[in-house]
């Protein structure tokens, strides 16, 4: 690069007087000055000194000013050449300017014009140099930025490729443009088989295609993105298998133009399996924790059986018919207690596969009332069926609902026990009715002892019983479990010493839907609020 000091001038003129006068003026102004009396000498000095500024007379013998200018410009320096012209040399001056002379000044040379001209030339050089520096700098910057962009792009490609989530991006036509490793691994498709060949609709089901159409594509540019929502759907593998996935997607915008969408999904099979295990292990834990409670219940029953045997023996010994009868009743009661304990435990610990079919709730309620009549009579309770005709049949696991109602009715009968409530005669009503929000509603209402306010929250939990040794604490827990399996709901209303009302609410819907609904049951239990028990 040329020397940065701009205050260096080469003066070429054949008139000695001008050389003298001008160089004095220049030196006075702080310039370093070389002088030459002809073009050849001038070019020679220029080559050696590389002065940024050249003042040259235009008319000289030998190499004239125009030629000096031409040769200096040919050297590709950033030096500026100012032409000195005499009177009437305007034509020459103009051609000098065309040859990129910086300026021209006329003889006689006025200092003021000279310095303005020099100053302008210096500024030109300065700008040229700055521009050159800037350009060089810019090239470097571009190189750096390109490297950075490459790095980021590699990083993102890496990120997308190594994500545990499957990532599939589509362009605005819905054609797949990105299909990452996880997606490849899960579906068995290679990138080449999918990218630019298949559409989102080809690998996801119609649900996702619909979502694409309504939210992610150009058609609906103003669709509002529901942030954070996900869709549980399936993805089709190369072999045609449907794998359950949880999917989120976003529309990609560039300056308000839809350029495509990207979807992220997770394989739900592992999660589903873990959820299932969790439910099972909770069930086992509930049983483990309370084996002491069970032992206690059994101890009480054994006590009852022993007592019964004692009374029966006394009956034999003394030939007393009353003792025989009372003792035998005791034995029977305790045998039925232990069998119901065993049944309750089995129901709760076993993962029973509910079998759904369309059925009339009135039929089930009728069967339960018939079944429980004898027991109600034994406890001096009126058991009444109040069925509403014309209810729609709903998809239900008939034996589950049957068991539910048996539990509720037998609780209701127990609650009416005259010795506890002081009723002459208790009353239990099993009612089927319509409900504004549910397909079918079954109520079991008693005028028994009611539930204490503080107990309402506990009645559906493990092994809570208000019946002391008579209850296993499992009945309502099973009722709740069955209601949930039906995606239904249990409600309870109760006033102490006035009675209780248990309400089982069931949704409608075709049986097939509920049939494969066991997986969505799990999801419901895991991610949504549990149905409130004591509402």
């Amino acid at each position: 690069m040329a020397e940065t000091n701009l205050h260096r001038v080469l003066l070429v003129d054949d008139e000695e007087g001008i050389r003298k006068v001008v160089s004095i003026a220049l030196k006075d102004a702080g310039y370093e000055v070389w002088t030459a009396e002809n073009g050849e000498q001038g070019l020679d000095i220029f080559r050696r000194q590389q002065p940024p500024l050249v003042l040259t007379d235009i008319k000289m013998p030998g190499i004239d000013g125009i030629e000096v200018l031409r040769r200096i410009k040919a050297m590709e320096t950033d030096s500026e050449v100012i032409i000195i012209t005499g009177h009437g040399e305007m034509e020459l001056a103009i051609s000098a300017l065309q040859l990129e002379a910086s300026d021209f000044i006329t003889k006689p040379i006025h200092d003021e014009a000279l310095f303005i001209s020099l100053k302008r030339a210096e500024e030109k050089i300065f700008l040229k140099r700055q521009l050159r520096d800037y350009t060089e700098n810019l090239e470097q910057k571009v190189q750096e930025a390109t490297a950075e962009i490459q790095r980021i792009s590699d990083f993102q490609a890496n990120l997308i490729d190594n994500s545990l989530d499957g990532i599939v991006a589509g362009n605005k036509e819905g054609e797949i443009v990105i299909f990452n490793s996880s997606a490849q691994l899960l579906t068995g498709y290679s990138e080449e088989e999918v990218v630019d060949k298949l559409s989102l609709g080809d690998i996801y089901g119609p649900e996702v295609e619909e979502k694409w159409r309504t939210n992610w594509c150009e058609l609906n540019r103003n669709a509002v993105e529901e942030a954070g929502t996900y869709l549980d759907t399936t993805i089709r593998t190369r072999e045609g298998e449907q794998i359950p996935i949880r999917l989120t997607g976003v529309r990609l915008l560039q300056a308000d133009q839809v350029m495509g969408c990207v979807t992220f999904f997770q394989d739900l099979r592992d999660i589903r399996r873990l959820e299932k295990q969790l439910v099972q292990s909770e069930r086992m834990a509930a049983i483990g924790q309370t084996s002491a409670t069970i032992a206690h219940a059994i101890k009480n029953i054994v006590g009852g059986l022993k007592g019964g045997m004692f009374v029966v023996n006394k009956g034999f010994e003394l030939s007393n018919q009353d003792y025989l009868q009372n003792g035998w009743d005791m034995v029977q009661r305790n045998v039925s207690k232990i069998s119901s304990l065993a049944m309750d435990l089995l129901t709760y610990s076993k993962e029973r596969k509910p079998e759904y079919r369309l059925a009339q709730v009135n039929e089930v309620a009728g069967e339960v009332v018939d079944l429980m009549k004898a027991r109600a009579e034994e406890f001096k309770v009126n058991l009444i069926l109040d069925a509403t005709d014309g209810l729609e049949p709903v998809a239900m696991d008939v034996s589950g609902i049957h068991q539910c109602l048996v539990n509720l009715v037998s609780n209701a009968i127990d609650a009416c026990w005259p010795e506890i409530c002081g009723h002459e005669r208790g009353q239990v009503v099993v009612r089927t009715c319509r409900h504004p929000d549910w397909a079918v509603c079954v109520e079991v209402e008693d005028n028994g002892c009611g539930i204490e306010e503080g107990d309402k929250e506990k009645i559906f939990t493990t092994f809570f019983s208000t019946k002391g040794a008579d209850g296993t604490g499992l009945g309502l827990m099973n009722v709740q479990k069955i209601a949930r399996e039906h995606q239904g709901r249990m409600e309870v209303e109760s006033v102490l010493n006035k009675g209780s009302l248990f309400r089982l609410l069931l949704p409608s819907g075709p049986a097939e839907e509920r049939q494969n609904g066991s997986e969505s049951d799990l999801r419901e239990n895991a991610s949504l609020e549990p149905p409130s028990a004591g509402a």
Binding site: H296, K299, N300, V302, G303, G304, K306, G307, G308, F310, V311, K314, E317, L318, Y323, N326, G327, D329, M330, R333, N334, E419, I420, C449, T466, G468, A469, D470
Partner: protein, 132 residues
């Protein structure tokens, strides 16, 4: 000799049947009450020689009835045999807590038997109580 009256207070039918049979066949006259309220009434009315009282009963319960008996001038000398599924230690602890809490000193029951009662044990304890 007139049969001694024993008041049996228990909400459970099985337990009542068993104890009354045991008492009847052992020469006593059982009187039945199914809750604490009835128990106090019958105790006042029949003046039993002893009371066999279940601790765990709905509502007022046996503990409350026991305290009523022991703070009643007329009834406090009737020996009471507590019968319960609760461990003896737990019961006595609860009595101490209640004594401190209410600032009243209630004597310990004549006997405490854990459920289910053995026939021999119950009779033996009963004899001792009435005898003394």
């Amino acid at each position: 000799m007139k049969k001694k009256k024993i008041l049996v207070v228990d909400d459970e039918l099985d337990m009542r049947t068993f104890i009354t049979t045991l008492l009847e066949t052992s020469g006593y006259k059982p009187i039945i009450a199914v809750n604490g309220e009835e128990g106090i009434l019958k105790a006042r009315e029949k003046k039993p020689a002893a009371i066999i009282l279940d601790v765990m009963m709905p509502r007022e319960g046996g503990i409350q009835m026991y305290r009523e008996l022991k703070t009643d001038e007329e009834l406090k000398d009737i020996p009471v045999i507590m019968l319960s599924a609760i461990a003896k230690k737990t019961f006595f602890h609860s009595q101490q807590v209640l004594n401190t809490y209410r600032g009243q000193k209630v004597p310990e029951p004549a006997a405490y038997i854990e459920k289910p009662p053995e026939t021999e044990e119950l009779l033996q304890v009963l004899e001792q109580c009435i005898g003394c």
